[in-house]
């Protein structure tokens, strides 16, 4: 290996510093929110809290712990992440694989591709979508959160492109050995596309975790709201006409940012730990070597 020139070393140093500064910039708001959640309500209302708690108190967390809603909604979210994320991943793989084939070998592929892609741009709007789900009697059930979003087209397109990048020899070798499409997909392609799999899994899981609008509209009871839907109802900044109609006690709660911040933190931290977990899959496909040999 050639040694690094001074220029290269300098670059490395600056690079590291720059990227670290960038990450600090990115984590700053979360630190601010954490600080707010640990400060007293009046200090927060006065805008005194920046990155460190003022009048340290665990009151907001105590309050949140006693209120069950955030936990029951987290359970709903965990269900939708498992079911929905799993379904997304499965369908992504199942659809991307055929679509990654050449038109010559699989003539319908372009038709199918446009079929799916079209839905990325066009939608019928809120009401028709709601009515379909209602007609299927899925309202207020976990399936309403899982099925309609079953096919994440963006992830499919990503995945099919990653599949395409895999060497042709892989597929040919597999067919030589008498493997059909199913075997090729599961035994050959997937292990070779680990980074892609990790990526689309992450996106599927994160999408389900973050998604809040469908929960608000499709559930018939607040107890069935998933986590982010619940959070949305808590942090929504109402317009002035609403607060004018509140009683005195309500006014105090409406603007209590410490409680909101505690809830935001509780709702955000779990998902943050998923990505580091998936990072180990961002390694080169192990099969590449075996084909050469």
């Amino acid at each position: 290996m050639l040694g690094q020139s001074t220029g290269a070393r300098l670059f490395s140093a600056f690079n590291a510093v720059f990227l670290i500064a960038l990450s600090l910039l990115c984590i700053a708001p979360l630190v601010h929110i954490a600080a707010v959640s640990l400060s007293s309500s009046s200090a927060v209302t006065a805008g005194w809290v920046k990155f460190w708690p003022v009048d340290f108190t665990l009151d907001s967390y105590r309050f949140v712990m006693t209120r069950g809603e955030i936990w029951s909604s987290m359970w709903v979210t965990l269900q939708r992440v498992a079911l929905g994320g799993g379904l997304n991943l499965l369908l992504t793989i199942l659809i991307a694989y055929p679509l990654s084939k050449e038109s010559a070998t699989f003539r319908s592929r372009t038709g199918y591709a446009w079929f799916f892609f079209f839905t990325m741009l066009f939608s019928g709007g809120l009401i028709p979508w709601y009515m379909v789900i209602r007609q299927l009697e899925l309202l207020d059930s976990i399936w309403a959160l899982v099925l309609p979003a079953g096919v994440p087209v963006f992830n499919v397109v990503l995945m099919l492109n990653f599949f395409r990048q895999l060497p042709k020899e892989l597929e040919e070798a597999a067919f030589m050995d008498g493997a059909g499409h199913w075997t090729t997909l599961w035994k050959i392609y997937l292990p070779a596309a680990l980074p892609a799999l990790a990526t689309v899994s992450l996106f599927a899981v994160v999408w389900h975790w973050n998604s809040w609008f469908d929960g608000l509209i499709l559930m018939n009871r607040p107890e069935h709201y998933p986590l982010q839907s619940y959070l949305q109802t808590v942090i929504m900044q109402r317009d002035m006409t609403f607060i004018q109609h509140l009683s005195r006690a309500e006014l105090a709660i409406v603007s209590d940012r410490t409680i909101k911040s505690a809830q935001i933190l509780i709702a955000t931290l779990p998902i943050v730990f998923v990505y580091p977990f998936l990072q180990r899959f961002f390694v080169k496909g192990i099969v590449l070597g075996s084909v050469k040999g």
Partner: protein
């Protein structure tokens, strides 16, 4: 406020009344005033055309009936439920009251959390064809329901089934709440009545700063401006930094907190409501010449640094921080400001004391606070609902349980510190003058040394004031509101001198209003903001009026006048 108790009581009476009507068949003579759009008769002693409902055990539905509803909950309601152990949204003291006293159980098709979610969910449900028996909507939605021919005319039901107390409460605000719900001469909704006078604004000033800077209390609007100048320049928070703001203002320019209505009213301009012009026709206050004079003064104030230079990007939440941090001493706003954000200011700095003063005028004519209809929700009944009179029974029970003779205010409205218990009832009308009445009761009792004899809502409030005086600083806002020299004393002055300037247009939004309000609102907000900031010259106001008319204002004014003429006849 023990709204819950009253609500339950009204509901009870309503339900009782309706049960009797149901058992006893139609009370045939209650035809009311056919063809006119005025409110149903208010006199409880009965004009001959009103049938008298009789209260009693027969009000109860037997066998019990089921009413389908859609529900809305929010954070505070969930907080209340947390304090009332064992009660849930669908199963609580109010639902029990309605069941036991009226034989009514509720079946909720769905419950949404938050008013925005409620609206959206309701829209998609209606579009899907799911309509509950009773539904609570605003004026625009009421009109849509009527256009879709989904709801029924409630006038006869109201006449026959509303208890005397209910009628008294519902007409305490005059005809306006009923006018707003009357479409094509038919009463399509029962107003979930709210106070209009409580929307009046005051000028709130920090009296500790007045004392510190040796300033007298203001008597004119010029005094207020001078005070805000002093607060902005003379370092009242004593930290040797020029970081205080003269007059508090948030970016929407209007609203119950840190808005400008009170300022404009001092110039006899009424920018958010409809007023009568010289020829007796309706005109929108924002386009009247007096508005220009007020804007010019605001422009001058901004230029001289009396306003927060960044107010244009700060919403009401952000603006509250300025008050809470003790950086401002003058703000216009409604009576509840002492609860928020000023209580927070007081928590951070116990010396910070705010007082609500009456709106002051720029000349010798007294300033009149502009108000609009406080009622903004109405209960409608689906056309083929089986027991429509149940709605009125609920109203009767609610009002009676909270404010009637058998009121249990402390159970149903405000038990202990579970403020907001009243919200557990679907219907929640509240007497428009109840806050003022509470103040008057306390003031009178204080004057006669009879504080210990107070009951109901007044007692609850007085207890809080007493606790504050005993050292609980967290209850300062109650004293600022209801103590003898509290802001409700000013409200009393307003009422006695009949100073409210009520919005002259109280009907449902007209066709063009619905289409153009957003555009006109944007134009007004943008123009006024830029004039105040100095980005536009004051004469841009004249162009504004022309544009406003061109962009639909002229059409809206025409429609408003049509309504006005029709409602006066």
């Amino acid at each position: 406020m023990r709204k819950g108790t009253r609500a339950a009581f009204i509901a009870f009476v309503c339900a009782a009344t309706l049960t009797i009507s149901a058992c006893g068949g139609e009370n045939g003579t209650g035809k009311g005033n056919a063809g006119s759009s005025s409110a149903p008769s208010a006199s409880p002693s009965g004009s001959a055309s009103n049938a008298q409902p009789s209260a009693g055990a027969a009000d109860k539905y037997d066998p019990p009936i089921e009413i389908s509803l859609v529900g809305v909950t929010d954070d505070t309601l969930e907080g209340v439920l947390a304090k009332l152990s064992g009660e849930t949204f669908e199963n609580n003291r109010w639902s029990k009251l309605y069941k036991d006293q009226l034989g009514i159980t509720f079946k909720y098709d769905w419950i949404a959390k938050g008013p925005d979610q409620f609206k959206q969910k309701m829209n998609v449900s209606l579009a899907s064809g799911d309509v509950p028996d009773f539904i609570q909507v605003d004026a625009t939605e009421l009109k849509q329901l009527q256009e879709a021919d989904l709801i029924m005319d409630l006038r006869d039901l109201y006449e026959s089934n509303a208890a005397p107390l209910t009628k008294e409460v519902l007409t305490q605000d005059g005809q306006a709440p009923f006018d707003a719900a009357t479409i094509d001469g038919k009463l399509m909704g029962i107003p979930n009545i709210r106070s209009s006078i409580d929307m009046a604004q005051f000028v709130w000033i920090r009296t500790d700063w007045l004392q510190k800077l040796n300033l007298p209390e203001p008597k004119t609007l010029q005094d207020v401006v001078a005070i805000s100048e002093a607060f902005a320049t003379q370092d009242p928070d004593g930290n040797n930094k020029a970081d205080t703001v003269g007059l508090l203002l948030q970016k929407d320019l209007f609203g119950g907190f840190a808005g400008l209505e009170g300022f404009f009213n001092g110039f006899h301009a009424y920018p958010t409501i409809w007023v009568e012009d010289e020829s007796g026709n309706l005109a929108h206050g924002s386009t009247r010449p007096e508005t220009k004079a007020a804007l010019a003064e605001l422009q001058r104030m901004f230029k001289n640094g009396l306003l927060d230079q960044e107010f244009g990007v700060k919403d009401w939440g952000k603006t509250a921080e300025t008050a809470s941090a003790g950086k401002v001493g003058v703000s216009f706003g409604q009576q509840w400001l002492s609860a928020w954000p000023f209580q927070s200011n007081h928590d951070n700095d116990p010396n910070a004391v705010w007082k609500g003063y009456p709106l002051l005028s720029a000349d010798d004519k007294p300033a009149r606070p502009e108000i609009s209809l406080g009622t903004y929700q109405y209960w409608a009944v689906r056309k083929d609902a089986k027991n429509p009179e149940a709605l009125l029974k609920m109203f009767n029970a609610y009002i009676k349980k909270n404010w009637g003779e058998t009121a249990e205010f402390g159970t149903y409205y405000l038990p202990g510190d579970a403020e907001g218990t009243w919200k557990l009832s679907p219907v929640t009308p509240e007497p428009p003058n109840k806050n003022l009445d509470a103040y008057l009761a306390i003031a009178e009792a204080a004057a006669n040394g009879k504080l210990a004899e107070l009951t109901g809502e007044a007692k609850v409030i007085q207890d809080k004031i007493a606790e504050y005086k005993n050292g609980n600083e967290k209850l300062w806002s109650w004293a600022a509101g209801y103590d003898v020299d509290g802001v409700y004393g000013v409200m009393k002055q307003y009422k006695e001198s009949d100073r409210f300037m009520m919005n002259k247009f109280v009907g449902a939004p007209t066709e063009t209003m619905a289409e153009k309000s957003a555009t006109l609102g944007k134009l007004t907000n943008e123009t006024f903001t830029r004039i105040i900031l100095g980005e536009l010259p004051i004469d841009a106001f004249d162009t504004f009026v022309q544009d406003w008319n061109k962009l639909g204002g002229e059409q809206i004014t025409k429609e408003a006048n049509e309504w006005y003429r029709a409602s006066k006849s």
